[in-house]
Symmetry: C2
Subunit: 213 residues, 2 copies
Amino acid sequence: MPLSEETRKKERKRIATMVIDLVKERGSEISFATAQTESGLSRSRFEWVFADYDDLFDAVAGIWLAPHMEVMEKVLDADLPPIRKMYEFFRKRFVISRDRWRADPHNFTMICEMGAANFERVRSYVDLADHYLCEIIVQAQAEGYFAGLEIDETLSLINQMLANYTIPDALIYLGDKLNEEKLARIVDTIFIGLSKEAGDEAKGLNTIRVATS
Amino acid sequence: MPLSEETRKKERKRIATMVIDLVKERGSEISFATAQTESGLSRSRFEWVFADYDDLFDAVAGIWLAPHMEVMEKVLDADLPPIRKMYEFFRKRFVISRDRWRADPHNFTMICEMGAANFERVRSYVDLADHYLCEIIVQAQAEGYFAGLEIDETLSLINQMLANYTIPDALIYLGDKLNEEKLARIVDTIFIGLSKEAGDEAKGLNTIRVATS
């Protein structure tokens, strides 16, 4: 007898949570076969819940990243000026990752490696974060920030400047060198300095023109 | 009969260059034993040239990073305004890495992995780059930039904002999303925006103080 879609959803959540706990306990990635054995389900039942490893990984990533999703949406809905909104947009996710890293650096590293090895599966989360960040950029541009820049350009530049506060691996390498104080300074620096005009001085176009004229 | 120090130096260079070629040819890391076999030296002679794998790795890193060292020193000595100097300081190294990545992405990835696995051995290069960057920061501060910030604070913030242009792995993930145009914009943004005052707006301290007073 086929089980209801609701049962399937509950089973996905239960097993994905179990897999996260097992990764923590055993300190290693959990295979599809191990997840099935530990789930207590028959193989056919298990494969009705999860089509394959990718599908299982999606469910695990969904649970692992749920707090990030929640804070992003909260910040987006908040009535804040764009500078503070962007700061909170990065800070709240950074704090979630840092707390996890501090609580169990080994487990955190393991989960990062799983994420890196399955990057295509987490791309949809990255895309959604980009989509939200674009909304903040539009709000900022309406107030005169990032003048003359396309939204996509601005997005890419901001992501590059703040990469250490979004890529979880950065915590493994930089640890406490990453903190809220510096994040706030970088966000302010971006709002003060980033516009279409930024770039010519560094490349020294004018200087060269003068020198060769 | 012991060989001269000069011979030892020549052998180090020859064998380290050979190891880089072998990594390229075979697409895998080269062990201490393989390097010895391929060097044509007896084991005792080889161990007179290289004390251990770490020592061999140091010689390999020295050759691999020599072009980076050279351009950093050239830029430091150049008579340029601090903004252009900082831009060139990052750009020239970025271009070396990008050319290598474009020429052979697989080999580039392999070398990055070797570097990551032996990070403590390349730390001295990172420290030297930091030292040079501090000199540029001091020059910039003398002209009024980064006002009110300690040198070390400024160093850390700039390294964080430009990490994608120094960490070679970034090319593997971001590829052509990294380019000179964006690098120039980020350097200008840093010079325009970064000072002791940056940070308060993002954290919204004033707003909170007003709200609770």
